[in-house]
Every structure is written in C-alpha cells, then in structure tokens.
Amino acid sequence: MYRRHSFLGALWRHGVLLVFVAFALFPILWVISASFNPANTLVGQGLIPPNPSLDNYREVFTSEQYPIALWIKNSVVIGLITSTLVVIMTSFAAYAFSRFRFKGRRTGLFASLLVQVFPQMLAAVSIYLLVLSIGRLIPALGINTHAGLIMVYLGGAMGVNAWLMKGYFDTIPNSLEESAMIDGASPFQAFFMIILPLARPILAVVFLLQFIGVYSELILASVLITSTEKYTLAVGLQLFIQDQYASRWGVFAAASVLGALPIVLLFVFLQKYLVTGLISGAVKG
C-alpha cells in the first residue's frame, strides 16, 4: 500500500501532519503560556508572555477563597483510594468468575455487563437520595463527605473492570495454582501469592483507568459534595472559572497545568498499558 514518496508527496504529508500538530498543541501551549503571564487576564494575551513569573502558581497554593491546591489533593486522594479498593474488589470477583464454576456465574457476568450499559451517573437523582438516607444512619458516609463519594464510585467497580481482569486471568494456566495447592496452599493463598503477582499488568491497567475516571468525574461529585474545601478539582475548577475568564484566566491556567500534570505523567509513562486497556473497550472519562 505504501510507496517511497516523491518530494511533493513528502511535502503535503508533512504539511497536513504539521497542521494537526498545531491543532493538537495550540490550546496546551496557550494555557502554559497564560499560566506564566502575570497579567491574569484573557485580554491581549500573546503566545510568549512578556514578563514571565510564577505569580499565578503562587495564587493556586495560597488563595483562601479558592483553595485550588487542596482540590487537586482531594482529587488525587479520592482517586488513589477508590482505585486501590476497586482493584482489590474486582480482582477477587474476577478470580471467582475465572476459576470457579458456581450457580449464578453466567448471571453475574451478564449483570456486570448490564451495569456498564447503565452508567451510574444517569441515576444521579436516586444516588443523591440514597446517600442522603445513608447519611442519616452513618453520618460519615453521607452527603458532602469524601467517604460517601468513594463509596458511590465503588458501585461502578464491577462492569468493564471485572471483564478486563477475568479475560486476563483466563490466560494464566490453571496448573500453576494446582501445583501450589498440592504443596499445601489454600485456594486463597494460591490466588494471592501466585495469580495476583502474575496479573500485575492488568491490575495496573484497571488502577490507571479507574484513577483517570474518578479524577475527571463531574456529575456525581458535583451532586454529592457541597462545601468548598471538600470539592474535587473537576467540581471546583469549573466553579472557579465560571465565566470569569477575563479576570481569572492566569490563575485558572496555572491550576489547569498543575491539575493535568498527574494524569499527563501517568499517561506518558504508562501509555503502552493504557492503550491495551482502551482498545479492549474501556472509555476514558
């Protein structure tokens, strides 16, 4: 299908690609530039700031009215806790689906697929009312608590994750556990000491996808979290900028750069794993 290019052939190809490179990079560069521009406004911004400074970044860390650094920390913490718990719970479930034969196995697998069809955020109204009543019983899990939000995210743990993991476990031969059990290991020990270490790549994929998903989740977080100091970045940042582009652009840009950093780094270093997961049907939030 491909042939060596003539000069013109190479020219138009690089021309087209450079147009798309510009399209892809422009917003990113524009924001990085704004984040170093002390003017803190959209008005008259150029691509290279005249007197670059770190004022905007300082504002992100020190503003009392809008504790953006705290929001980033909230998002990271919620993301880490949720992803860890999801990986643990899902690996258990996926192991059962992969290794045991029991009543309700097919139904369970099918149910976790159905769950994917009904994105949790669609039921935001019901979830809000549910968390409200859970909060009356256990205040620590109620509205406006991080624990409550994490609990809600755990509900979506099955679904695509269970399938991804089950698929991977299926490729690990049974004989490994069998020989371990002959040596006296319990099924749980076999799972914990043999299968889990072997399944590290898929555990990493699920962890990452979950982290990115939770980090960017907007609808449930904005419904369930109501006080400023508990916002996640996704909720806080949009309230912070809310049509105030003229007066808060610089600080917003600095917050965007800092807020995007965790995910961009994860993405750059773990691209190979992520792409596998994405192609198998997961969608980034």
């Binding site: 299908m1 190809r13 959209l42 008005v43 258990f92 669609l122 969608v283």
Partner: protein
C-alpha cells in the same frame, strides 16, 4: 488460623448488623430492616457453608454494585412514575399535618387587648383582657386564668412593661408567638393593639380520606398528589404520590415539554454521530499517514498527536471555553485579524454546536488514531501485494481492503464511542452548559443540551423548581437507547467472533 480470622470477621460483621438493625427498628424502617436481615443471613451462610466458597470472592464488589447501581436503577424506575419534585416533596402524612396546622381568624370570638412585659431574662409575659373582660396571663405558649390581686399578677409589676415603641420593635418576635386557648384554638397577634382567636382551617377525616374546610365547608379530596376541591382548586403543598405514566405522557404529548424534548433528543443523536464521524475520519486519516514506513519523524508525530488525549477532558473543555470567548478569546482575535469579524461562538445556537464539535474532535481524534493504528498493523500485508498485482489503485485498496478489515475490529469501538458521546455530560456542561436557551420552553432546555445534561438540569438546576419525576422518566428513555445500542454491539461482536472462527 484461617478459621480464627473468619470467626472474628463474622463476629464483628454480626455486631455491626445488629447495631444497624436496632437503629432501623427504632426508626420504624421495617422493610429495610427485613432486607438487611436477609442480606446478613446470606453473608453468614456464604462464610459458614463450604458451598458458599466462590461467593466469598464476589461479595464486596456485588455488595457495592447492588447498593449503588442496581438499587438506584430500580429507584429511578419508581420515581419516574411519581410526581416527586418541587411542590410535591413531602409525604401525604406530612402534608396533612402541615395543613391541619393552618389556622384562620375567628372574628366571632372577639378580640383580646393586651399589655406586654419583659422579665430579667428577657422573656415575654402578656396580660390579656378578653371580650367579656376576663383576665389571662400568657407566658411560653401557656395561658392562665387570673383575677385582680392574684400573686402571679403582682409579679408583673417587677417586670418592665413594653412601651408602644418597644412593641413596634418587637413585632416580629411577638407575631411568631401563639397561646393555646383550648384544644384547637390559639391566641395569635392580630395587630399591634390586640390578639385574636385562631381556629384550624381544615379538618382531616381518616375514614373518608378527605379534608374539610371548616370556614367554607368545601371538601377537598386527594387527586394526583394534591388535595383538590370539586371545582378543581388545589391546596398547596402537594404530596408525592404514584401518578402512573403521567411523566412519560407529559414527555410525549404536552407540547411545551415535548417540543424541547424532541429538539434535545435530535441534537443528542446528531451530536453523537458528528462526534464519532469527525473523530473517526480524522483519526483514520492520520493513522494511515503515520502507518507509512517511508514517513520520517513518525514517532515524533505520534507522540505529539496523542497529547490532547492525555489531558483530563474537564480541564480541556474549560480551556477551550476560554479560547472560544466571544470578545476576548484567541480564536475570535485571529478571525478578526484575518477575515475581519469574529463569531458569536457560545451565543448563537449553530455556532455553539460547531464549537462543541470542534472541541470534541480535539478531545477524541487521538483515541481513534491509536485504535486505527493498532488495527492497521494487524492487516496482513500480502493482501496489498495481491492487490498491486491485480493493478488496484490506492483508493481501491483503501476501499476494498483497508476499510472492511479495519471495521471488523473498530466497529464495536465506534458503537461504544457513540454511546459514550450520547451521554457525554462533561463536555456539554463545561463548554456551553446547554446554552443558548430555547425560547418558550416550559422545561429548562437549551439548544446544545443533550439528554443527560437536560436531565441534570431538570433534577438539580431548574430555576422553576426541580422535577425528579420527569428527570427520572428522561433517564429511563436514555437507559433504553444506550441499552439497545450496547445490546446491538454485543450481538455484533458476538457475530463477528463466530465469523472469525469459521474462517
């Protein structure tokens, strides 16, 4: 050892369950209590019986799935057949209790003049003189009949008597007070000079389930969430009640609701199609360029073109909103400098949609590019050699080899992407918030609202009050559509797997 851990775990678990059960019992939540006990019994069985072994692994994930996904779905179905929303938040019992608290002034009972006093603690005391000249001492909601010269009356002399100016200042405080005259009637402030007798306006009859207006004699009966008089007058607030398929009927037959709903629906489909179409076209085009072994700097291009995908979408959307800013945004500045005039990106219905599609193209083309690159590499190169021998042109090769083979692996992802964009709340919400609004809509609908953002606004953001019932009905419509799509997708992939096996 393992047995011991299991024992301790079950012990703690059962203690916690008993604690919750007692709490539920004391609050009278018997149905939830029953479910809780059934669930607890199941857990105990799973951990004690050997047959329950596999289920131990499934327990944590299933628990959260049932509590936070399955239950909310069932609850959504329930809410969609009720009138739950502003004006109908309370239960029927609460509404009856509230209506029975309403009182009307009884003019026949005459008026009570009064003198007010304040004691050392700042508490208010009242001495009322009734229509027949009887004396009543009022304090803290209670009335006491007194005679001239009583000891309790003499105590008043020690308190400060309120002057007329004091009374004016304390009007709000005093008018909030009431004193029980008998079982049903109360004394309440009528004006600055006097108190009046207030009787309950409504009497509820439990046997006949109706409210009697004691003043006018009109009988109100419960109809679809309101107490309603024969002439159709409704008492507010209403109560929440199952109203059957009313919400769905409203969605499909009330012109002020249906009009906006259909517009939102059509735009949702257009939006999902445009998003998938544009990102796929660009992604595939770039993938074909980058898959070319003769192209230089491929790795550089690939690495840079993936970048938009690495930025969290909620941040990108907010950044783009700044770029699209009509007066100050860089896009309009460039347009003004080159073609002389800017574009009202977020104010005009059509341009707002264009802005959304551009944003989603930026967000989504890297994903399609990655996916297509992967799929292209799996195509057997011998096919092209055979095509070359047969003298096929580049376009023919693309049309008859690349595209069909690519589709085998990419089509399910396209359908998944369609479903994802169908419910792509954050992009819409963050860039346009559904604006500009549709003029004359009874529900809060905007030109760029998709079904999910429309639902969100119905439930949480409407200035005219929230409508959980209608929002849940729309949610179920979305469930139905995405569910069907995913089902088709499974059938599709399943069928394709069979085809591959046969080959």
């Amino acid at each position: 050892m393992a047995k011991l851990i299991k024992g301790i775990f079950l012990g703690i678990f059962n203690v916690v369950i008993i604690w919750i059960a007692l709490f539920l019992y004391s609050h009278g939540a018997y149905w939830i209590l029953l479910l809780l006990l059934l669930g607890a019994a199941l857990v105990n069985f799973i951990f004690i019986s050997e047959r329950g072994y596999p289920y131990r692994y499934l327990l944590p994930a299933s628990f959260f799935m049932i509590l936070l996904v399955v239950y909310p779905i069932i609850y959504t179905v329930y809410v969609s057949v009720t009138n739950y929303g502003t004006g109908n938040i309370l239960s029927k019992e609460q509404v009856i209790a509230q209506l029975q608290e309403r009182r009307i002034h009884d003019g026949d009972a005459g008026s009570y003049s009064y003198t007010a006093y304040r004691d050392d603690q700042g508490q208010l005391w009242f001495l009322f003189t009734g229509p027949q000249g009887e004396l009543l001492l009022g304090h803290a909601g209670q009335l006491e009949r007194v005679q001239e010269g009583d000891a309790s009356l003499n105590r008043l002399a020690e308190f400060t008597e309120l002057t007329r100016a004091d009374l004016v200042r304390a009007t709000n405080e005093i008018s909030a007070l009431s004193f029980a005259l008998d079982e049903t009637s109360q004394l309440q402030m009528r004006n600055i000079n006097s108190f009046g007798v207030y009787r309950p306006q409504y009497q509820y009859s439990r046997e006949r389930d109706e409210l009697l207006d004691l003043e006018s004699g009109i009988i109100y009966q419960p109809v679809l969430g309101y107490f309603q008089a024969p002439d159709g007058t409704r008492l507010t607030p209403g109560f929440r009640e199952v109203i059957g398929l009313q919400n769905f009927r409203k969605l499909f037959s009330n012109p002020q609701v249906t009009g906006p709903f259909m517009r939102v629906f059509i735009w949702t489909v257009q939006w999902a199609l445009l998003s998938v179409g544009c990102t796929f076209a660009v992604g595939l085009f770039l993938a074909i360029l980058l898959n070319d072994p003769y192209l230089r700097w491929r790795r550089f291009y690939r690495a840079v073109l993936i970048l938009p995908y690495a930025v969290p979408a909620f941040i990108s959307a907010l950044i783009w909103r700044g770029l699209f800013h009509t007066e100050l945004g860089v896009i309009n500045r460039i347009l003004k400098a080159t073609i002389g005039s800017g574009v009202p990106w977020l104010q005009d219905p059509v341009w707002a949609k264009v802005a959304l599609v551009i944003l989603n193209l930026w967000l989504g083309f890297p994903y399609m590019m990655i996916v297509c690159l992967g799929a292209l590499q799996s195509i057997n190169q011998e096919m092209y050699e055979a095509a070359l021998v047969d003298g096929a042109s580049s376009w023919q090769q693309f049309r008859h080899i690349t595209l069909p083979l690519l589709m085998v692996s990419v089509a399910p992802l396209l359908i998944a992407s369609f479903s994802f964009n169908f419910n792509n709340f954050s992009v819409i919400y963050l860039l346009t918030r559904g604006r500009p609004p549709i003029v004359g809509a009874q529900t809060p609908a905007g030109h760029t609202d998709i079904l999910i953002s429309y639902t969100y606004r119905l439930a949480f953001e409407s200035g005219r009050g929230v409508d959980y019932g209608l929002a849940s009905a729309v949610t179920l419509v979305i469930f139905l559509i995405t569910g069907t799509l995913t089902f088709i997708n499974f059938r599709f992939t399943g069928a394709l797997e069979e085809v591959r096996k046969n080959v």
